[in-house]
Amino acid sequence: MATTPDHPDLPTLLGRIEDPAQTPDPRLIDEVYAELRRLAGIWMADEKAGHTLQPTALVSEAWLRLVGPDRDIAWQGRSHFVAVAARTMRRLLIDHARRKAAEKRGGGWARLTLSSAEDQVFDDPGEFVALDAALQELAALDPRAAQVVELRFFGGFGMDEIARHLDVSRRTVQDDWSTARAWLHGRLK
């Protein structure tokens, strides 16, 4: 399973962004984006397992593929990786959703597809686009809460990981999440 990554310079990139305030290296973002896209493609094409495809599963898998479980990388490295992955995952999903929406508009209404409700992560493109927009609105009012959503929803971060990454208490993260969740659900109704 956990194969050695064929991206030798990635750990170096990770090593370079130890300062949380620092903007991630764009090369890292591109790298992660490419890998996530590739993985998402595999998931979507080969949906054999019968379980929901979740972005977070992709992120974890990308981590394993790019870095491997045995690599001794400082926790902060992973922290940054997931932060970056969350951001790119968001980008990937939105791109995908936009494409899907465009297909739907252009694709003709008569096309009959069997869609299962569980495929909805990718089946309701409008919802993702709306979430992205609402998240941008929230970021203007409450940047940290928006970041918590991004890390948790798109990155699959646990509460404790988010707390460490943002250097705040777990309680604060929970409050951020609860507020953002209610606020966004209100927006997306």
């Binding site: 599963a57 299962s116 409700a117 509460m159």
Partner: protein, 841 residues
């Protein structure tokens, strides 16, 4: 929203979140009024399930090397309860299992232990075997048979299965479910991702996974998560039976699973879900329940014509809202599917309540009216709701009160049906009388608050549609009070809108304005979903109507353009609402004297309706009516009369003769006949309008004044003065009440009155009336307005005739330059002013 405001809302929200309802209400009451609604909305939104809940479980980590005795091979995916891995048993490389890791720990295991013996008894080729369960750190795990296959829907799609093969697959599901039901195990979360298909001897074989797990999880989650999960749903809204939204486990039985199979069947035969995901996702329980209980899914054949009528019926029976009307188990459903496969007559019949309701509506020719939807909703929808409520009560074991309530409910509904079913003619009057007599009397006996809450607004809207505004008012006010007390923003917006529309139709414009303004505020808070946006647009359209009545056509246009823009962004296009918006635009543009634009707007509205085959609908009639009004002002009176008569015929067919729209049609045609010089027709039409209006509305409805004025003008034009003074004085009285102060319309009636007095030689009274008219016009329209100038001219002429030369000349001197400016130097009125000024002693 400003950041300060957001921070205040956030702080209040977080402070109130852990508290119980009573404490929340107290705290909300102490809060600034302008924050209260937002905080309340957030607290409610915290309890809805939405897109964010489909994200990760907390602390989703990396791939574990092993779980319990299993070595993890790879991640299969992530289900609602946690991660699922493909794993191999240590020491046995060939036995592959699916291991679910569930982050609820020991409590799960305790509960699972009690279920385990039951689950062990499930041995069926269509049920996946659960091998083992255990604990791994904080997590529980569950090892089960690994099925290397896709969900049932994906299988059918990938293998291009035909209808029969799809039905066969569903029968396999039924077989497995029936086996489990026979051993006392419910699934509770049947959906395609729990129905995996693999191949056995080259044949597709369905395996149901996760049997009995939902029950174990439900208990655990409810206890562990407490308040934050209250109101959230464990399960998948799209496959959930209505009774599963009640959060009362005792209501869920084998028939709930049968419902879920029905959804899968529906999805498999036509490729769509009965209730679109977009309608269900992110809803709270209440809203979800409302949709499941009120919205009839279309028959599958609507989505795919390949589906035949019998299969439609089978789906409808499997998806009946009321479990008693459903197949009583998976076995029954399977047997009917077998009959279908063999071409024998199926046991499912057209869904009774909805079928009868539709039949009733068709018979009463109301199908074209908005009332039809209302009736179907009333009859079919409420039947489901009330039965569900009764079931819910049953669980509380309040047997005596409950049976009385059930009796009330069923009597109420039976009355509606039984009286309607024979050979009622179908005119509005008969239906109205029947609804009045039966519905209202039955409603008075319903004292259960929950039932009233459903019946009252619906009945209110029904009365309103039938033009019975007074009766509607009582009910809509009651509904409004209920929604204000604890409704959602959407409910509140709707209740306010309905009350506002009803006030508008009663001529209570300030009240309507206030209600609609508040409706708009609530609707804006209701978000940006299609439902909310359509409601926002509709409210804007109504606010525009009020603005038109209040002589603010320019602001009406602003509302309407915004409403139409909002509507046109919605997919599928709410064409009725767009047509309605164009119709109102036409009215506003006409008020602004932009007659060509007004005509274009009418034509656009009519074209939209014609495109959708809605040429016999009351809305089409409304648009025709507006166009006729424009044509009148464009001096195309003959075309206008034809439009009036066409639109009136539609209304009479839909509503019967005694309806406000019919009255208004007579009235408008009367005005057009005036333009054609047909005074006798005019008098007759105005009289008809008056007679209808008097039956329908209170004594101070502004339309009454309009009809009285029309009749007076017709009589004055024919030089008959009988009753004119009384009519005009009554009209002034009505307008004074409606407008509460000076208004151009009152001034116009005064002008008519002055004309009458002058014609009758009652000079002093004529003088007084002209004086009041001129003053009112100066105050409301401005001193330079042409109508103000005209009434001052008339006043001066009367004064001159009475020998008051000095005052007459002073007035003439004052208005002459303005007349030259407004009317031109050679206009008749300018000349008349000059004549007065030049007159010698």
């Amino acid at each position: 929203m400003s950041q300060t405001r957001y921070q205040r809302i956030r702080a209040a929200y977080l402070a109130l979140l852990p508290q119980d309802d009573a404490a929340r209400e107290r705290a909300l009451a102490a809060l600034d009024a302008d924050l209260r609604a937002d905080v309340r909305a957030m607290l409610r939104d915290a309890e809805t399930v939405g897109i964010l809940d489909r994200g990760p479980a907390p602390d989703a980590g990396r791939l574990p090397a092993s779980i319990g005795p299993y070595r993890v091979v790879r991640r299969l995916g992530r289900g609602g309860m946690g991660d699922v891995f493909l794993a191999e048993q240590d020491g046995d490389l060939h036995r592959r299992v699916a291991v679910k890791r569930i982050a609820v720990g020991s409590r799960f295991l305790e509960r699972f232990a009690t279920e385990r013996r039951v689950l062990a008894r499930l041995r069926h080729p269509n049920i996946a075997v659960v091998f083992d369960a255990g604990q791994d750190g904080d997590d529980a795990w569950l090892a089960m048979e690994f099925i290397d296959g896709p969900p049932i829907t994906a299988w059918a799609r990938e293998h291009g299965l035909d209808l029969r093969a799809r039905v066969e697959l569903v029968r396999q599901v039924c077989a497995g479910v029936n086996h489990a039901h026979g051993r006392g195990v419910l699934h509770r979360d049947l959906k395609p991702s729990n129905l995996l298909v693999g191949e056995v001897d080259g044949q597709p074989s369905v395996r149901i996974i996760d049997f009995g797990i939902a029950k174990v999880l439900e208990g655990v989650d409810g206890e562990a998560a407490g308040r934050t999960l209250a109101g959230q749903i464990l399960g998948t809204p799209q496959y959930m039976a209505p009774e599963q939204t009640e959060l009362q486990p005792e209501l869920i039985d084998a028939r709930s699973d049968t419902y879920a199979i029905g959804v899968v069947l529906y999805e498999l035969v036509c490729g769509q879900l009965p209730h679109p995901t977009a309608d269900l996702a992110g809803r709270g329980l209440t809203e979800l329940r409302r949709i499941l209980l009120h919205d009839d899914p279309p028959p599958p054949s609507r989505h795919d014509p390949v589906v035949d009528r019998e299969l439609d019926w089978i789906c409808a029976r499997a998806l009946a809202r009321n479990p008693d009307e459903r197949y009583q188990g998976a076995g029954e459903l399977s047997a009917d599917l077998e009959r279908w496969l063999e071409g024998r007559p199926v046991h499912a019949a057209p869904p009774s309540a909805a079928y009868r309701a539709r039949k009733f509506v068709r018979r009463h020719a109301l199908a074209v009216a908005a009332g039809a939807t209302m009736l179907v909703l009333l009859v079919a929808g409420l039947l489901g709701t009330s039965l569900a409520l009764v079931r819910a009560r049953k669980a509380e074991a309040v047997a005596v009160a409950e049976s009385r309530r059930a009796q009330q409910t069923s009597e109420f509904l039976l009355d509606l049906f039984d009286d309607a079913d024979p050979t009622l003619g179908g005119s509005r009057d008969e239906i109205a009388e029947w609804v009045l007599r039966r519905g209202r009397a039955a409603l008075d006996d319903v004292d259960d608050p929950a039932l009233r809450r459903t019946f009252v607004p619906t009945m209110g809207r029904l009365y309103h549609t039938l033009g019975l505004y007074g009766d509607a008012d009582t009910l809509l006010v009651e509904a409004l009070a209920a929604a204000e007390a604890d409704g959602s923003d959407l409910e509140r917006a709707r209740a306010r809108e309905q009350a506002g529309i009803n006030a508008y139709d009663q001529g209570l414009y300030p009240a309507a304005n206030d209600l609609l303004r508040r409706a708009a505020a609530a609707a804006d808070r209701a978000g940006t979903g299609n439902e909310a946006r359509e409601l926002q647009a509709n409210i804007m359209t109504w606010r525009a109507s009020v603005a038109i009545k209040a002589s603010h056509p320019d602001s009406a246009l602003v509302h309407l353009d915004a409403a139409i823009a909002l509507l046109e962004a919605i997919e599928p296009l709410p064409w009725r609402a767009v047509a309605d918006g164009q119709q109102s635009r036409s009215v506003a543009l006409r008020s602004l004297d932009r007659l060509d634009d007004a005509l274009a707007a009418s034509d656009r509205g009519l074209a939209i309706l014609a495109d959708h085959g809605a040429e016999r609908t009351p809305l089409y009639a409304v648009s025709l009516h507006s166009r006729a009004n424009v044509l009148t002002e464009l001096d195309r009176a003959e075309e206008a009369v034809a439009d009036f008569q066409r639109s009136r015929a539609i209304w009479i067919a839909s509503y019967g003769e005694v309806h406000p729209h019919v009255a208004s049609s007579y009235s408008s045609e009367a005005a057009t006949q005036y333009a054609l010089g047909h005074y006798a027709e005019m008098e007759q039409l105005a009289g008809k309008a008056l007679a209808i209006q008097e039956q329908l509305t209170s004594a101070d409805h502004p339309s009454l004044a309009q009809h009285l004025i029309n009749r007076s003008v017709a009589r004055l034009s024919m030089e008959t003065f009988e009753g004119v003074e009384d009519d005009l004085l009554r009209a002034i009285g009505i307008y004074e009440k409606v407008y509460g102060g000076p208004h151009p319309n009152i001034a116009s009636v005064l002008d008519n009155l002055a004309y009458l007095y002058q014609a009758q030689g009652r000079r002093d009274e004529a003088l007084d009336a002209y004086r009041r008219c001129a003053e009112m016009r100066a105050a409301t329209l401005g001193p330079g307005h042409r109508r103000t100038l005209l009434s001052r001219l008339k006043l001066a002429e009367v004064l001159a005739g009475m020998g008051e030369r000095q005052e007459a000349q002073a007035i003439a001197a004052d208005i002459l330059p303005r007349l030259v400016e407004v009317r031109g130097p050679d206009h008749d009125q300018t000349r008349r002013a000059r004549t007065l000024l030049d007159a010698k002693e």
